[in-house]
Symmetry: C2
Subunit: 202 residues, 2 copies
DNA sequence: CCAGTTAGGATACAGTTGTATCCATTCAGG
DNA sequence: CCTGAATGGATACAACTGTATCCTAACTGG
C-alpha cells in the first residue's frame, strides 16, 4: 500500500471542509467537487472515504453536535464551581447564541441543516432529539431551583424553560442575519434571567 | 395574438406554484421545470413571464410579505375595537407563529428564504427591513403603554419587544419541526404577556 | 523480492439545471 | 384579408451534479 493513512483523520478533514462550505456559502453550495477543492484533494478521495453524499452530510451533522457539546463542557469547566442555577442557564443559553467567528460559522451550518431537515425526513429526527433532551434537562434544573426557593413559586418551570430556549434560538437567528450583535443578544438573555432569578446575584 | 392574457394574473399563478413547492419540498427543490409542472404549464410559459429564476425568487419573497401583511390586517380587523396594548401584541405575535396549514406552508417557505438569504447577499436586505420595522413599531407601542401605566415602570420596552419577537421566532421554529404544537406555542406567549401586562385582562 | 492490497488520479456517464433559439399558432389593426 | 405582433410548444445547449469504472503507483507481509 502507499503511505498508510489514518482514515478517521481523513474523514474528519473532509467533514471540516464540508462545514466550512456550509457555513459560508450554504448547504446548497456543498457538492462532492466543492468539498474536494476546499480540502485540496481530488474528487476521488472524497468518494474513497465516504460512500455517499448522504454519509458525508450525516458526518457533518454529527460533527456539529460534537462541537456544540464541546463548547458547553468548556463553558461549564471555565466557570467551575459557580454552578448556581442561574449560572447553568447563562452557560447553556450563552453557548446557543453565536459569539466568535467560529461559532457563527457553526450556527450558520446548523441553521442550514435545520432548514433542510424541515423538508427532508432523513435528517428530521436528529434535529429533534437534541433540543428535547436540553429542554428536559433544564426543566429538571429549574424545578429543583423552584423547590429550593431560588425562583418565584408561581412560575411554571416547563414554560419558562421552553420560553428561554425559544428566545435563545430566535436571538441566534437575528445575530446570524446581523440584525443584532452578540452582545445585544446576551443583554436580552441576562435581562430575562434577572427577571426570573431576581436581580443579578452573579 | 392568441387569446390575450393577464400577465399579472399569470405571474401570480406561477408565484403561488413556486411557494407551494418551497413550502413543501424546500427551496432547493424549486426549479423552472418543477414550477411549470406544479402550475401545469410548459417550461416556456415560466420563461415567458419571468426573465430570470432570480426574478421568480424575488416575486416569491414579495408574495410572502404580502401574505404576512394581509394576515396581520385581518387579525386586527377581526378583533376590532379591543386595541388594548396587550391585544396588539397578542395579535402580532400570534400571526408570526403558524396556526393553520396555509400559514405553516408560508412559514416553511419563509424559513427557507431566510436561510438562503444568510448566504446570498442578493436577498439579505429584504429579510432585514421587515423585522426591524416591526420591532420599532412594537417598541413605540410598549413605550406608550408604559407611560400610561399599563406595564411596570422598571421594564425596558426595547428589550422586552426584542425578546418577545425573538421568542415568537424561536417558537415558530419549534412548531415547524413539530417539536411543539401551535397551541403550546401560544400558551408560552400568553404566559409571557401575562407577566408583562399583569394577569390576563383579556 | 514479489504478490496483493491500499490509496488515489483520470475519465466517463446519465440526469438535472438555467437559459436560448426556432418555430407554429392565434388574433387585432390597417 | 393579411401582415405582424403576442403567446407558447419543442428542442437544444453547456454547465453542473452524484456516482461508477479503469488504471497506476506505493508499500507490506510472506
Amino acid at each position: 500500500m502507499p503511505r498508510p493513512v489514518d482514515h478517521d483523520e481523513r474523514r474528519h478533514l473532509l467533514t471540516e471542509a464540508l462545514l466550512r462550505i456550509a457555513g459560508t456559502r450554504g448547504l446548497q453550495a456543498v457538492s462532492m467537487r466543492e468539498i474536494a477543492a476546499e480540502a485540496e484533494v481530488s474528487l476521488r478521495v472524497v468518494q474513497y472515504y465516504f460512500t455517499n453524499k448522504q454519509a458525508l452530510l450525516e458526518s457533518g451533522l454529527n460533527e456539529l453536535g460534537v462541537r456544540m457539546d464541546r463548547r458547553v463542557r468548556q463553558r461549564v469547566a471555565t466557570a467551575a464551581g459557580k454552578l448556581t442555577p442561574r449560572g447553568v442557564f447563562a452557560a447553556v443559553l450563552g453557548v446557543i447564541v453565536p459569539s466568535d467567528e467560529q461559532s457563527r460559522l457553526d450556527s450558520m451550518a446548523w441553521t442550514a441543516y435545520y432548514t433542510a431537515a424541515l423538508t427532508d425526513p432523513a435528517l428530521a429526527e436528529v434535529g429533534l432529539t437534541l433540543p428535547n433532551a436540553l429542554e428536559d434537562f433544564l426543566t429538571a434544573r429549574l424545578t429543583a431551583a423552584q423547590e429550593a426557593g431560588d425562583i418565584a413559586p408561581d412560575c411554571d418551570p416547563r414554560i419558562e424553560v421552553a420560553g428561554l430556549l425559544a428566545l435563545a434560538n430566535g436571538l441566534t437567528s437575528s445575530v446570524l442575519s446581523r440584525q443584532r450583535t452578540h452582545e445585544a443578544a446576551i443583554e436580552i438573555i441576562e435581562y430575562r434571567l434577572d427577571r426570573l432569578f431576581g436581580p443579578a446575584v452573579s
